[in-house]
C-alpha cells in the first residue's frame, strides 16, 4: 500500500525510545502505525530527564528552571512539560526548530498537556496544522485521584483538576480529531465539545518470546517444585497493588503446594516491600510459601514468563482507559482470571473459553482455583481471529482512517 503524503508531528511528554510503561507503549505503537501509513512521521517529547534516561536526539529535556519545578512537584511533571514548550526558552527554541523543520500537516498531541504551551506557540508561529487529540484517560479526575493518594492539599487538588479539565475541554473543542481508548471516554470528550471522534483501544504487539526465555522460567519454577503459575504483570502503580489486595489478597491458602502466584514488573516492588514473613502476621508469614516475585524484567524475560505461565491474573479494580495488560492476556492464549473492570472495552472476551470474570475476592480466588485445574483453553477459528483485534494494527485502524481524512 502506498503511503499517503502527509507530515505528522507527534508530541508527548515522555520519550518512547525504550517503551516501558503503558503510556509509552501506546504512543510508540501510534507512531509506528503512522509510519506505516504516512510519508513523514516525527515524534518529539518534552520531558523531565529525572524520570527517563533513554531518549532520542530529537527529544527535548526540560531546561534548568523547569527541572526545578518538577523536582518540587513530581506529580504535576506533565503539566510543567506542557508549559515548557512555550515558557522555557531553551525548550521553546528547540521545539520551534522541530516544527519549522517538519512543517507538519497534522500535529498529534498525546494527552492534553503539550497543548498548554503548543497552543500559544502555534498561534505565535502563525501556522494552522490539523490537530489530533490523543486521549489516554480523562485526565482531570484521574490526576485528582493520584494527588489525593499522595496526600496533596485538597484545595490544590481542586485547582489542578479544574485546570486540567479546562485544558481537555479546550483541546476537545479545538481538535480536528479526538481519539480515546474507550467508548466511555469518547462520550466524555463528546460532551466536552469534540465532534470528530475515533475509538482507539489499547492494544499489544504480537507476542515474541524465545524458547530460551521460556525454558529459563520453567527450569526456575521446576527447581522449586512448582508446576503451575498464575501471573500478575503490573507496574508499581498504587491501584495495581490495591487491586491485588482486594481481589487476591495476602492469604494464599487457596493456592496449592505446586502452584504459585507470580508477580512480574515493578509491582514486585510492592510484594517485596510490603510482605515480610518475619512480621507477626499470619498472612505475611505464609504468603511466600505460595507466591513468587520475579521483579522488574527485561522485555525478553517478561515475554518468557508470560509464555511460561498457566494463568494470567487481571485483578484491576480502578483506573480509566483500557488496560494494556488485558490485551496482552487476550493475545497470550492463556487462561485468564479478570475483573469486569479489567475487561472494559474487551467485554466480548469474557465469553472466551478459559476466561473467568470475578468481582469479589471470594469469586476471584475460586476462579483462580478453577483456572489452575482447567485444561488449556481451545479457541475456535473465529475466536482466534477475534483475539487478533487486540493487536495495535487493528486497535489503531479507526484512528489512522480518521487522520487520513483530515
Amino acid at each position: 500500500m502506498n503511503k499517503i503524503q502527509k507530515s505528522i508531528l507527534v508530541v508527548g511528554t515522555y520519550p518512547i525510545r525504550e517503551p516501558r510503561h503503558g503510556g509509552q507503549k501506546r504512543l510508540h505503537a501510534i507512531v509506528e502505525e503512522y509510519k506505516k501509513r504516512f510519508t513523514s512521521v516525527t515524534y518529539v517529547s518534552v520531558f523531565f530527564d529525572g524520570f527517563y534516561s533513554e531518549y532520542s536526539p530529537i527529544d527535548i529535556p526540560l531546561g534548568e528552571y523547569s527541572r526545578r519545578l518538577v523536582q518540587q512537584s513530581p506529580m504535576t511533571g506533565d503539566i510543567i512539560c506542557g508549559e515548557a514548550i512555550y515558557s522555557d526558552p531553551e525548550v521553546k527554541k528547540r521545539f520551534t526548530e522541530v516544527v519549522n523543520t517538519q512543517n507538519p500537516d497534522v500535529i498529534h498531541i498525546e494527552q492534553p498537556y503539550p497543548y498548554i504551551g503548543l497552543k500559544k506557540l502555534i498561534s505565535e508561529l502563525g501556522i494552522s496544522p490539523k490537530l489530533v487529540f490523543g486521549s489516554q484517560n480523562v485526565e482531570g479526575p484521574m490526576k485528582s485521584e493520584i494527588l489525593a493518594g499522595y496526600g496533596t492539599d485538597a484545595k490544590a487538588i481542586i485547582d489542578i483538576e479544574n485546570q486540567i479539565t479546562a485544558l481537555e475541554e479546550d483541546l476537545s473543542k479545538r481538535a480536528d480529531l479526538t481519539i480515546a481508548c474507550t467508548t466511555a471516554d469518547l462520550a466524555v470528550h463528546a460532551k466536552m465539545g469534540a465532534t470528530n471522534l475515533a475509538l482507539a483501544p489499547n492494544g499489544v504487539d504480537r507476542p515474541e518470546f524465545s524458547e530460551n526465555s521460556v525454558q529459563y522460567w520453567r527450569s526456575k519454577f521446576h527447581a522449586q517444585d512448582v508446576e503451575s503459575t498464575a501471573l500478575f504483570v503490573g507496574s508499581a502503580h498504587p491501584p495495581n497493588w490495591a487491586g491485588f489486595l482486594s481481589m487476591v489478597g495476602k492469604g494464599l491458602g487457596f493456592v496449592q503446594r505446586q502452584q504459585r502466584i507470580v508477580a512480574a514488573g515493578s509491582i514486585s516492588d510492592y510484594f517485596d516491600r510490603e510482605i515480610k514473613e518475619d512480621s507477626l502476621n499470619v498472612q505475611d508469614a505464609t504468603f511466600w510459601l505460595r507466591a513468587f516475585s520475579a521483579g522488574r524484567l527485561s522485555e525478553p524475560k517478561l515475554q518468557g514468563i508470560i509464555a511460561a505461565a498457566d494463568v494470567i491474573l487481571l485483578p484491576i479494580t480502578e483506573g480509566g482507559g483500557s488496560n494494556l495488560k488485558t490485551a496482552e492476556a487476550i493475545i497470550s492464549g492463556k487462561k485468564v482470571v479478570a475483573t469486569s473492570h479489567a475487561l472494559r472495552s474487551f467485554e466480548w472476551f469474557a465469553d472466551f473459553p478459559g476466561v473467568w470474570k470475578a468481582d469479589t475476592k471470594k469469586d476471584f480466588q475460586s476462579a483462580i482455583i478453577e483456572a489452575f485445574a482447567a485444561p488449556l483453553p481451545y479457541r475456535t477459528k473465529e475466536q482466534t481471529q477475534r483475539a487478533q483485534e487486540v493487536l495495535w494494527q487493528n486497535c489503531l485502524k479507526e484512528m489512522i482512517e480518521g487522520v487520513e481524512k483530515l
Binding site: 492469604g251 491458602g253 503446594r257 514473613e277 507477626l280 508469614a285 505464609t286
Partner: protein, 451 residues
C-alpha cells in the same frame, strides 16, 4: 479392625532419653496403645534431617525404656527429690547439730553439696547424651530402612513437625506421589493467633507448619474444641479450606504408685511449704498469668483478707522476670507466695495431694493439663474461664476472668469455705472420670477408621 496400615511418626521421642514433656507424652501415649493393639496394622518411623528421609523405626526399645523409667520412678527407693529438698531431708540430718548451729559453716556445707550436685548433673548430662546417641543408633540400626509408603496408608503426625521444617515438605511430596492419607494433631494456635503470649522466634516456622498441615492433611485431630475453633479462625485468615477436624481428649491419668501415707510422709516443710496452701502448677511465663495471682494476693492484703500460702510450681518462662522479681522481693508477700522449679513427679504428687485446692489463671491454653491433674487428684480447681480450660473441668471447676483480681479473689474465698470445698470435692470424686491414654487412643483410632 481398620483396613489401613497406620504409620506413626516417632521423631519426637525416638532419640529422647530424658523425661517426657507434654508433646512427647502424647506421642508416646497414643503410639504405645497402637503398639499394644494386636488388631491393628501399625508401623513406626522417624524423620532423618541428615538424609531427608523417613526411616522405619521400632517402638519396642522406646517402650522398654519409658516403661522401665516409669516403674523405677514410681518405686520408693528411687524417689528423686529436688535439690533443696534433697539437701534438707537426705543430707542435713547427718550433719552434726553443732555444725548446723554455726550459720557460716552451714552455708559452706550447703554450698559444697550444691557444687557436688552441679558437677554430678554435668556428668549425668554427658552420660545421657552419649546414651541417647547410642540408643538412637540402636533404634535406627535395628530397622533403619527407608519407609516405603503405600497408597492405603494413613500417616499419623502427633508431635512437633515444626521442629523439622523439611519433614512436612517431604511428607507432602511423598503424599502427592503415592496418595496416602495424612492425619496431624493440632495442639494450639497460641503462637500464630496470640503472638503477644509467646516468644516470637517460632512464629514464622509454626504458622507455616499450620498452613502446610491445613493443606496437606486429610484429617486434623485437635486436643480441644477451643483449638479446633482457633484452627478454623486461622484457616479463615489464610483463605484456606480446612480438612475435617476431630477433637480428642488427652490422657490425664495420674500414675503414682506411692500410697497416700507415703506421699503424706514427704517433708514439704523443708521447702518452707506451710500446712495449708494453694497450688498453681505451670511454667512461670507471661501467658500463664501469674501476675493475676500476685495482684489478687495484694488485693486480699489490702482488704484484710487472709489467704493461705500460694505455692507456684514451674520453670522460668518467657517474660516472667518482672513478676518473679515482684513475688520474691515484696516484703508483704515473699513468704506468702513461693515459686519452685525442678520439682520431681513424686514431690509434685505430694503437693497436689495435700493442697487445699489449686488455682490456674492462664490467659490461654490449648488444653490445660494442670486443671485435669487437679481433678484427677480429687482436688478443687479455680481457673480462668477462657480458651479450652472450661472444656477440661466443665462445671466441676470454679471460673473467673483472668483479667479480674476481684473475680479471682472471690473464687478463692468461696473455695476456702470448707463446706463449699468439700461439697465440690465430693462431686469431683463422684463425677470426674480420668481419661486414660487408651481412651485417647480409642478416639484417634475411631477417627482414622472414618477415612
Amino acid at each position: 479392625m481398620s483396613q489401613n496400615r497406620v504409620l506413626i511418626d516417632l521423631t519426637d521421642i525416638a532419640q529422647w532419653a530424658g523425661h517426657h514433656g507434654g508433646t512427647q507424652r502424647v506421642v508416646y501415649g497414643i503410639a504405645k496403645n497402637y503398639f499394644l493393639d494386636e488388631n491393628v496394622s501399625v508401623k513406626f518411623f522417624t524423620y532423618s534431617s541428615h538424609s531427608n528421609e523417613f526411616i522405619e523405626a521400632d517402638f519396642k526399645p522406646i517402650f522398654d525404656r519409658v516403661e522401665n523409667t516409669v516403674i523405677a520412678a514410681g518405686s520408693r527407693d528411687s524417689v528423686k527429690l529436688s535439690q533443696k529438698l534433697r539437701i534438707k531431708t537426705l543430707i542435713l540430718p547427718y550433719v552434726p547439730k553443732a555444725v548446723l548451729r554455726n550459720e557460716e559453716l552451714k552455708k559452706k556445707i550447703k554450698s559444697t553439696i550444691r557444687t557436688g550436685i552441679h558437677n554430678a548433673r554435668a556428668i549425668k548430662g554427658r552420660i545421657k547424651g552419649v546414651y541417647a546417641q547410642a540408643k538412637s543408633t540402636v533404634v535406627n540400626s535395628e530397622v533403619g530402612r527407608t519407609v516405603i509408603f503405600k497408597e492405603n496408608d494413613i500417616v499419623l503426625i502427633l508431635g512437633k513437625p515444626w521442629d523439622e521444617p523439611k519433614l512436612q515438605s517431604l511428607l507432602d511430596e511423598k503424599k502427592s506421589q503415592i496418595g496416602f492419607k495424612v492425619v496431624e494433631l493440632v495442639y494450639d494456635l497460641i503462637i500464630s493467633l496470640y503472638p503477644h503470649l509467646h516468644h516470637p522466634s517460632l512464629f514464622k516456622r509454626y504458622t507455616q507448619q499450620m498452613f502446610k498441615a491445613g493443606q496437606a492433611s486429610d484429617l486434623l485431630l485437635s486436643i480441644s474444641e477451643s483449638s479446633k475453633n482457633d484452627f478454623l479462625k486461622l484457616s479463615n485468615q489464610l483463605e484456606l479450606t480446612p480438612p475435617p477436624i476431630d477433637v480428642i481428649r488427652l490422657g490425664d491419668e495420674v500414675e503414682i504408685s506411692m500410697s497416700d501415707d507415703d506421699l503424706n510422709a514427704i517433708n514439704l516443710s523443708g521447702y518452707g511449704v506451710e500446712e495449708e496452701y494453694l497450688l498453681c502448677v505451670g511454667t512461670v511465663e507471661n501467658r500463664k498469668n501469674h501476675a493475676l495471682l500476685y495482684y489478687t494476693y495484694k488485693l486480699a492484703h489490702e482488704r484484710g483478707i487472709t489467704l493461705p500460702q500460694l505455692i507456684i510450681i514451674g520453670g522460668n518462662g518467657w517474660l516472667s522476670d518482672d513478676i518473679q522479681y515482684l513475688i520474691r522481693t515484696d516484703p508483704a508477700l515473699k513468704e506468702k507466695i513461693k515459686i519452685f522449679s525442678n520439682i520431681n513427679d513424686v514431690t509434685l504428687a505430694a503437693l497436689y495431694k495435700r493442697t487445699l485446692f489449686t488455682v490456674y489463671p492462664s490467659f490461654y491454653e490449648g488444653w490445660g493439663l494442670p486443671v485435669a491433674e487437679a481433678l484427677a487428684y480429687g482436688k478443687v480447681c479455680v481457673a480462668s474461664k477462657y480458651s479450652s480450660i472450661p472444656e477440661v473441668g466443665g462445671d466441676l471447676v470454679t471460673y473467673f476472668s483472668p483479667y479480674s483480681t476481684d473475680e479471682c479473689l472471690a473464687a478463692i474465698v468461696k473455695m476456702l469455705n470448707v463446706k463449699n470445698r468439700t461439697a465440690l470435692e465430693a462431686r469431683i470424686s463422684r463425677e470426674y472420670k480420668m481419661t486414660t491414654w487408651h481412651d485417647t487412643y480409642t478416639q484417634v483410632k475411631l477417627s482414622l477408621e472414618k477415612l
